[in-house]
């Protein structure tokens, strides 16, 4: 079991409000010493290694597969292909009534078919005694194909896009009034096309799996954002009960959405272990990650805005085309923010899809809003210039009181305050609006702003909390840690709720044997776990008081919980007597007291899911909940080479209560860094002839490096959202939104050039 921190008994007087403090991460020692074990780092006797062979055609049928050369490599244990692989069950049908069915990466039943559905699909797995033998042998497998016509070019297929259907979770279109007519009648307007390329997550840890069968029981070490989904999906594919599978994932080396679905590598490692009867480890090559794990869809977007001379928006139109794979993937909420950001008289949003013979697209940090805010916020800047208005002033004139698309109330919205705070910290008033008017030596200087926006989510979380006689607290919940600092934040919350010191709390997570937690996604994990954890702590204090009241010797006899304060490791009247939890347990002769919120029994899970859906739909009818913010950036552009450098950044956010000032700021900064990459360098290049990714590596897909990232000033308003647990709004995704637009707007301010096609590489500025 994962021990996330040293646990020590409470010291008197050591408790106090911990929520909000910049406490160091509890896993810092493990992560800085190399002791933290990731999925490919669990030793097993007899461990074998697997490597994938990828198809080289986009669509077709395997006509021949030559494995003798690979099998002859010393140390090779098996070459598994569609000709000899044991049968697996197909992926379960997707249903919103069974959320784990959404885990399917692609619908292909790998190595159970001779069909090829995308360029890079795994067509064989080599298992060998060593890593190098497996990788070498995989290069020796020869495959011949009957090739079929394939549709792989996003841009070519764009005219054939079909409108996205709405379902319980996602809405494909919405409107208010007649936006096209209002646009035509508007005295000032823009009508613009924006394009964004495919992006890949590029977590530094490649996807890795270690699979160990013991009879019909299976243990899987996997870097994942959802241990329960991996467990349930493997149970469905291998036809064994979910209860026979344990998925362990205490450390995940970055994910960003890319480790949410279950992809080929995971399934085929389990298959390879089944076939060889050995524990098998497979870490995908970097190229293998590109070939078998989906990325963010490319997009083509239209944003048209109309305004009166008074700077009030009369029309807002945002439409998008994105891609899905014929074997999987889903729509992106590209127009999400456009339903909520501006008080336009008429609004039209519509999302359309093309279906291609490519790998499924998948979620990647702020799916939808990251690229949607680029188009919307760049268009808003363009219209502000046409109106001769400061872009912040223009936004403030159109700041809504209620959710623009449907008139719902905002649960919390302080975008005005975020702009005011950010503008002051950034020094926006020093900006001269004329493009090209600011210089620093030979550099052209530009300043840009854009709004950040991301809806907040809350998912079901089952939690147990145990308080032991030595005063220590154990929180158990199968949530996930890929760098957000989840265990640290939840320990802070539990310590405050129970009135014990931070050091007394230990949090166990990242293991499917724990009470089922939320997946790490939608910026919802911290709030989801916190809600259940707070309920559990309340239950625990009630049980503790009930235990104390049974004894005539307790100073708490006859007391009610609402008259007591949890502090100093116990319950106390103010300012009078009370006693420690340890004393209560000792008197009762109990080693510990444990409470649970939520249940993982079959019925309990169904009840939990039904309750979640009911709350989700009820909440959605009542409120619009979201994080928002204002992104300010300064760029320098070399007038001769077109090189763009980001030189300053201020992000001011409305994210409700911040649980840990250090880790929350890190999340927001991390989003901004990824947004800088998206704006200036990141692009997955797909060969339009055959659908093959041409730059499947970090040497050719350029993520930001140290030199690209200036000090980033992140600040937040700290005002709690009254509808969220502790008032907290998730911070994982809002940071990336608005970033690319702020940079594009700053580049325009520096150069007078509008680049509406990401990334803004120097060739587009020359």
């Amino acid at each position: 079991m994962t021990l996330t921190q040293a646990q020590s008994p409470p010291r008197p007087g050591a408790s106090g409000r911990l929520v909000g403090k910049p406490i160091d991460r509890v896993d810092g020692g493990a992560k800085t010493s190399g002791a933290a074990r990731y999925a490919a780092e669990y030793p097993y006797p007899g461990l074998a290694y697997a490597a994938l062979v990828h198809s080289t055609v986009a669509r077709g049928r395997i006509t021949g597969i030559e494995t003798a050369g690979a099998a002859a490599v010393p140390g090779v244990l098996a070459v598994i292909t569609h000709e000899n692989a044991p049968a697996m069950k197909p992926a379960p049908p997707m249903s919103v009534l069974n959320l784990s069915s959404l885990a399917t990466g692609t619908r292909v039943n790998y190595l159970n078919t001779d069909e090829v559905h995308w360029n890079g699909q795994p067509v064989a797995v080599v298992v060998a005694e060593t890593q190098d033998a497996a990788l070498h042998a995989a290069t020796l497998v020869r495959v011949t194909y009957e090739e079929f016509a394939a549709t792989v070019g996003f841009t070519a297929e764009e005219p054939n896009a079909k409108p996205q259907k709405s379902d319980m979770l996602q809405s494909g279109s919405a409107s208010k009034g007649d936006a096209e007519a209002a646009l035509a009648a508007a005295p000032v307007s823009v009508d613009l096309r924006f394009t964004t390329p495919q992006h890949n997550h590029n977590a530094i840890e490649p996807h890795a799996t270690t699979a160990v069968w013991d009879g019909d029981r299976l243990t899987v070490h996997e870097g994942t954002q959802n241990v329960a989904w991996v467990r349930d999906h493997l149970a469905a594919r291998f036809g064994i009960p979910a209860g026979s599978i344990r998925v362990i994932s205490p450390y995940v080396g970055g994910a960003f959405g890319g480790k949410t679905m279950v992809w080929a590598g995971t399934i085929l490692t389990v298959l390879a272990a089944r076939v060889t009867g050995r524990p098998v480890r497979m870490m995908l090559t970097r190229e293998g990650v590109y070939r078998t794990v989906g990325g963010r869809t490319p997009s083509a977007q239209r944003v048209a805005l109309g305004a009166g001379a008074d700077g009030r928006l009369t029309s807002l139109i945002h439409t998008s085309v994105t891609q899905v794979g014929r074997v999987g993937g889903g729509p992106e909420q590209v127009t999400s923010q456009s339903r909520h950001l501006y008080d336009a008289g008429a609004i039209l949003v519509r999302q359309s899809l093309v279906e291609l013979d490519t790998l499924s697209n998948t979620i990647m940090r702020a799916p939808g809003e990251s690229i949607g805010t680029f188009a919307l916020e760049a268009a808003v800047d363009e219209l502000a210039y046409k109106l001769d208005l400061d872009p912040i002033e223009f936004r403030m004139r159109n700041e809504p009181e209620r959710n623009p698309i449907d008139g719902k109330r905002f649960a919390h919205r302080m975008l005005r305050e975020a702009y005011a705070l950010g503008a002051e910290r950034f020094g926006w008033s020093a900006r001269t609006p004329e493009p090209g008017s600011m210089r620093d030596g030979r550099w052209l200087v530009g300043m840009g702003v854009a709004s950040a926006y991301h809806p907040s989510w809350q998912l079901p979380a089952n939690v147990t909390v145990r308080l032991s006689a030595d005063g220590t607290v154990l929180v158990r919940c199968g949530f996930h840690e890929m760098g957000m600092g989840g265990a640290t934040a939840q320990a802070q919350i539990a310590a405050d709720a129970l009135g014990v010191p931070f050091e007394a709390v230990r949090v166990e997570y990242g293991d499917s044997v724990l009470p089922t937690g939320p997946g790490a996604g939608g910026s919802g994990q911290t709030a989801s776990v916190a809600a259940s954890l707070l309920t559990a702590c309340e239950k625990l204090k009630r049980s503790m008081l009930a235990l104390a009241r049974r004894s005539s010797g307790s100073p708490l006899r006859g007391r009610r919980l609402n008259g007591l304060r949890a502090r100093d490791g116990g319950l106390w009247t103010e300012p009078g007597p009370g006693e420690t939890y340890a004393a209560i347990l000792a008197r009762a002769g109990r080693p510990h007291l444990e409470v649970a919120v939520g249940s993982d029994t079959r019925v309990g899970a169904m009840v939990g899911q039904a309750r979640f859906m009911a709350k989700f739909l009820r909440d959605r009818r009542r409120w619009m909940k979201a994080a928002c913010g204002a992104q300010f950036c300064e760029v320098r552009v070399d007038p001769d080479t077109g090189e763009v450098r980001v030189s300053r950044w201020v992000g001011a956010f409305d994210v409700g209560t911040v649980i840990n000032a250090k880790t929350a700021a890190a999340q927001l900064r991390g989003g901004i860094v990824m947004g800088i990459g998206m704006a200036l360098s990141e692009e997955t290049l797909v060969d339009p002839r055959n659908g093959r990714i041409m730059n499947p590596g970090l040497g050719e897909y350029h993520v930001p490096v140290h030199a690209d990232i200036p000090p980033i000033d992140v600040c937040y308003l700290g005002d709690p959202d009254p509808t969220m647990p502790l008032g907290l709004i998730g911070v994982g995704e809002v940071g990336i939104t608005g970033v690319a637009a702020a940079i594009a707007n700053a580049v325009h301010h520096a150069t007078g050039r509008r680049v509406r096609d990401l990334p803004i590489t120097l060739d587009k500025l020359l």
Partner: protein, 198 residues
């Protein structure tokens, strides 16, 4: 198969390896030293950075057989005498990581980088190549650009390194009153490696 003798974190290790085994795989898969990470296996991310005789290298781009008799330090060996290396504690204090996967490489790279700087090696952003560059934020970021962090913890990493470098500079001045000298040739060789990794 070839016999390879490596001195890893002060211990002599003898391995019987296929000649194509990288130093990275030798450390991770044969010696169980999994603190050194594999991120790309192509020299592009720096997660596999270790120190060889004090110089930073990408262990994925080198064969284990090349390092027979050389002294290798991995993240597991950077702490001394039971005390963590100052960079390890500075990374925690300055939040110089999130997921932790690039962290071993960042720390080993920073140790190597500070030694290069102390030896007088310039970087691509050093204005006057003849004089020792002040280790500004810009210099640190340039010199660390071979180590990618996808979580975007760059600010914290640079702050942690800057803090340790500043403390070391103070100590250097008070203890010796002189600038420490190292092998300029070694530092230059190392700078080339860092460039190639980028």
């Amino acid at each position: 198969m070839v016999d390879v003798q490596l001195r890893v974190n002060g211990t002599i290790e003898t391995l019987d390896l296929r000649p194509r085994v990288s130093l990275l795989d030798a450390l991770r898969e044969h010696l169980g030293l999994t603190g050194t990470k594999k991120g790309c296996d192509q020299g592009a991310c720096g997660a596999c950075t270790v120190l060889v005789d004090g110089e930073r290298i990408n262990s994925c781009l080198t064969l284990a057989v090349q390092y027979t008799g050389r002294s290798i330090t991995t993240i597991e060996g950077v702490a001394g005498g039971g005390e963590p290396h100052p960079l390890q504690t500075a990374f925690i204090r300055n939040d110089g990581f999130q997921c932790g996967y690039c962290t071993s490489g960042q720390i080993c790279s920073a140790i190597g980088m500070l030694a290069e700087h102390a030896a007088g090696a310039p970087s691509a952003v050093t204005e006057h190549l003849a004089s020792r560059a002040e280790l500004t934020d810009v210099e640190i970021r340039e010199r660390m650009s071979g180590n990618l962090c996808r979580c975007g913890a760059y600010n914290g990493i640079a702050d942690a390194i800057g803090e340790v470098a500043a403390a070391a500079a103070v100590q250097e001045v008070t203890e010796t009153g002189a600038v420490r000298r190292g092998s300029a040739a070694g530092a230059a060789r190392q700078a080339t490696t860092a460039e190639a990794a980028r």
